[in-house]
């Protein structure tokens, strides 16, 4: 749920990068953090273990365009992908406005992708949300690796719900698809918040 500060004319949106462990969620945020101008980004907080696994979550506040006189700010979160941290994932999903599902394209990670997507839907339901209604995009990450599944099959397993959502091929470490994913989800969130008629976007 977006938080609107009418006095400061600021709207805060919460976007969560979800997906199985080691899929590249933190890499997405790191690339966003590296590539945004200073004026548009805050400091990134990343609590990781020694082997670069996200321990709690990553957090990156970024500000974007103005819409109808409101400054839009996006708080980008990632969740720990490991299955044992489901309580943390639930907490991070609280008040979410949009979800990026980062899938690992490698053959041997496909099952984890499906389980993580199912887990995402289950956790969303605890907040009376649903993948059919929440702004949601899919990023098929690690497309530069040799043993990756074809997009057709990834779409078959991860994007054949009640509605088909935008999906992007990505290589988060090099930035391929990172901003396409973020911009599309941000626009979906703005579209949901402000509706079809958009007057003040600048």
């Amino acid at each position: 749920m977006s938080i609107i500060n009418y006095a400061a004319k600021v709207i805060n949106f919460k976007l969560v990068y979800y997906g199985p462990g080691m899929a590249g969620k933190t890499a997405n945020l790191q690339f966003v953090h590296r590539c945004l101008p200073d004026d548009n980004r805050g400091n990134m907080i990343s609590l990781a273990t020694g082997d670069d696994r996200t321990l709690f979550f990553d957090f990156l506040p970024v500000s974007a365009t103005s819409v109808r006189g409101f400054t839009t700010k996006f708080q980008l979160y990632t969740v720990p992908g490991q299955s044992r941290y489901n309580m943390t994932r639930k907490l991070v999903l609280r008040g979410v406005d949009g979800v990026v599902f980062v899938a690992d394209s490698q053959w041997d990670r496909l099952k984890e992708n499906v389980e993580s997507l199912r887990n995402l839907n289950d956790n969303l339901r605890e907040y009376r949300l649903d993948l059919a209604t929440v702004p949601y995009v899919v990023q098929y990450n690690k497309r530069d690796l040799p043993d990756v599944a074809p997009i057709d099959y990834l779409e078959y397993t991860l994007n054949r719900g009640t509605r088909r959502v935008p999906a992007f091929e990505g290589v988060a470490v090099t930035g391929k698809g990172v901003f396409d994913t973020l911009n599309t989800l941000s626009r979906m969130v703005l579209l949901r918040e402000f509706g079809q008629v958009q007057e003040g976007a600048s």
């Binding site: 548009n40 805050g42 609590l47 935008p166 958009q198």
Partner: protein, 690 residues
């Protein structure tokens, strides 16, 4: 027979024989027959005489002997298979006898009847040799007898008459796989496997009772799943097991099993589905033992192999990005820099200025434009961004060089404090402790703390909550702040800046400020570390521990500032106040005192350890009140308490309701901080009730 645990039996029936080709099987049997004939012929030639005549029961006992043998030899076989094996053994026995008789007749010119008599009875060792030779002759064929797939020899003989014997029969799945392996054939579309259409070419496949003709299969190379099998359960190495499979090196799985699991992103088949394709003699244990030891054994099939064998249409192809109507009305909110920050400046900007700068300039902190005039409302945490036009923003070479600074959290003195983040410093409020004392010389400058150092400090707060990191200067006090996103950072850092100047020798190494809605922990360091969290929320004790750990990474703090001295006079201690001192047991033995300032406006109830000056504590309490007491931020709420930490000693200051300034200050060694806080709360309530 998976239960081949008898060493002697396994020794005679080496599992390796199962891998023999049909020709080798027959040659093996023929060799046994020849050896049998030679041995019996030699015995006959030696002429053992009438003494070597075998008893008559040896002829009658032959079927029973083989029946008993079948119970050992074919434990896994059905009764019908055992009976057929016994029949075959008897037939082989007779055949061997006839062969021996023929040899005898040839050697000694005997009549047929005499030769038969010698072969079956009169030459005593001959029947016993036949009993031994018969199982040896049949041993190479034992696997086929045990195989679940029937091996109708007659039918196969007929098939060989029709199909070219030298060309192995190719099943539809084998042909399908060969097409995939052959690039030339793989280029052509592969039709769905239809056993009925392939029936004329695949008689052997259709014979299999386990794969009905209307059920297509998927073939997987055994080598790709072999690692999932328990090697200890097999007597053969996996490469030899692969050769011994029903279809060497390949496992077949019904396609319906595969299709049902495709949406799951993995295809796993239960062991029972593929068990029959393994040779029985390859197992080191019986079937029951195997299933008992590995009850949930499943083989995960390689999906790339599987998907290639599926008919077109199972998985929709022609993926196209989804389009959402209305999105085009919003411009892309985020425009990335042309080159990420970690790219070296020289490569990011050919001929860039950063690379040409002298080191001294490159290491200097960034100079920002003067801060905007103070606004009546706290500015947002992030400055309102320009409307996303970042095609090629001007790059600050100094800032670039700072970002590529080494990761160590060392802080170098800057010429003048400046703010790294986009937020301008807050205007200096009229009343604050830090402003009263001359600003102490700072060893460090906060703005040059590297991002990596900031990340390391943030890691110290793992598990304590969600924080937004920030570093900068507030009211001339450099700070590193970690503030919960739900709290206004400006208000938190303003509070922190006002109490941070008191830290040091005068008041301790850490101070915790509790307001109605927030807990703010400030730890002394060259650049004090501030952690702000919403109350109720993360445990304050945990925040204090983590903040102290983070401050320890930065270094030792300076001596701090002594609170300004005041003219405080002592009032008489009422018995009620003395009674309150007795309730503060968590602080140890305390002596009460009541102090008031010269104007008589402020009153401080002081409870301190014996030997400590009450005036010092009173001055500290009033300094705190001057700095924080009049601050009532809408997001933070009213001040509740301020607790300084000096090792085990705690100094607690809290305001009391009443006219003017009324404070409670208690100090002493505290082992249980939570209890001390509650006791002070009750003491405050008692004093307020006067």
């Amino acid at each position: 027979m998976r239960g081949g645990r008898c060493p002697s039996w396994r020794g005679r029936c080496d599992v390796g024989r199962y891998r023999l080709s049909p020709l080798m099987r027959w040659l093996h049997a023929l060799g046994v027959v020849v050896a049998y004939v030679v041995v019996t012929g030699v015995l006959f030639w030696l002429d053992l005489g009438d003494g070597g005549v075998a008893p008559a029961w040896t002829i009658v006992a032959v079927p029973f002997f083989y029946a008993v043998l079948s119970l050992l030899f074919l434990r896994r076989g059905s009764l019908a298979r055992r009976l057929s094996w016994v029949g075959g053994a008897c037939l082989t026995h007779v055949t061997l006898g006839l062969t021996a008789a023929a040899a005898f007749a040839t050697l000694a010119d005997l009549t047929t009847l005499s030769a038969l008599a010698y072969a079956f009875a009169r030459l005593g060792p001959a029947p016993f040799l036949t009993l031994v030779a018969t199982p040896l002759v049949l041993a190479p064929f034992r696997g086929r007898v045990l195989s679940p797939r029937p091996a109708p020899r007659g039918d196969r003989a007929r098939q060989r008459a029709v199909v070219t014997p030298t060309t192995p029969v190719e099943t539809p799945v084998a042909r399908d796989a060969r097409r995939h392996e052959d690039p030339a054939e793989a280029a052509t579309p592969v039709p769905a496997v239809k056993p009925s259409a392939a029936a004329p070419e695949t008689p052997e496949w259709q014979e299999s009772p386990e794969s009905p003709p209307d059920d297509a299969v998927v073939r997987v190379r055994f080598e790709r799943v072999a690692a999932q099998l328990p090697a200890a359960a097999f007597t053969l190495p996996m490469d030899r097991v692969a050769e011994s499979l029903r279809e060497p090196h390949w496992l077949t799985v019904p396609r319906r099993v595969v299709l049902a699991q495709l949406p799951e992103g993995a295809v796993q088949v239960h062991w029972a589905i593929v068990a029959s394709q393994f040779p029985a003699l390859a197992f080191a244990m019986s079937d029951v033992e195997f299933r008992g030891q590995y009850p949930n054994l499943k083989l995960t099939l390689p999906l790339d192999d599987v998907l290639r064998q599926l008919p077109p249409g199972v998985i929709p192809t022609g993926w196209t990005p989804s389009q959402i109507a209305g999105l085009e009305a919003f411009p892309a909110p985020f425009q990335p820099l042309p080159v990420p920050r970690d790219v070296p400046a020289a490569s990011a900007r050919p001929g860039g200025a950063a690379a040409d700068l002298p080191p001294a300039v490159a290491a200097a902190p960034p100079r920002r434009t003067p801060p905007p005039p103070p606004a009546p409302v706290a500015p947002p945490r992030l400055a309102p961004p320009p409307p996303a036009p970042v095609a090629a923003p001007p790059r600050d070479p100094v800032a670039e060089s700072l970002r590529s600074a080494p990761a160590a959290p060392t802080i170098t003195p800057p010429p003048a404090p400046a703010i790294v983040t986009s937020a301008p410093p807050l205007p200096i409020p009229p009343t604050r402790v830090a402003a009263r004392a001359p600003a102490p010389p700072r060893e460090v400058a906060p703005e040059v703390i590297s991002r990596d150092a900031l990340t390391r400090l943030a890691a110290c707060l793992a598990g304590a909550g969600t924080f937004e990191s920030w570093s900068g200067v507030v009211e001339s006090v450099p700070l590193v702040a970690f503030v919960a996103p739900t709290l206004p950072r400006e208000a938190v850092t303003a509070v922190a800046a006002r109490v941070a100047g008191l830290l040091g020798a005068a008041a301790g190494e850490q101070v915790t400020v509790r307001t109605a809605r927030a807990a703010i922990v400030v730890s002394a360091a060259p650049t004090p570390v501030v952690v702000g969290a919403r109350r109720p929320g993360a445990p304050v004790a945990l925040l204090e521990l983590r903040a102290a750990r983070a401050a320890g990474l930065i270094g030792r703090a300076g001596e701090g500032v002594t609170p300004p001295s005041r003219a405080l006079s002592a009032l008489a201690v009422e018995p009620r106040v003395a009674g309150v001192a007795g309730t503060l047991e968590a602080f140890g033995d305390l002596e009460p005192a009541v102090l008031t300032d010269a104007a008589g406006v402020a009153r401080v109830y002081v409870f301190r350890e014996p030997g400590h000056e009450a005036e010092r504590l009173g001055e500290l309490a009033l300094a705190v009140w001057d700095g924080l007491g009049r601050t009532r931020d809408a997001d933070l709420g009213a001040l509740v308490s301020v607790i300084f930490r000096q090792g085990r000693r705690r100094i607690l200051v809290r305001p009391l309701a009443g006219r003017g300034t009324t404070l409670l200050a208690a100090a002493g060694p505290v082992a249980r901080p939570g209890r001390a806080w509650r006791e002070a709360d009750r003491a405050a309530a008692a004093l307020e009730a006067r």
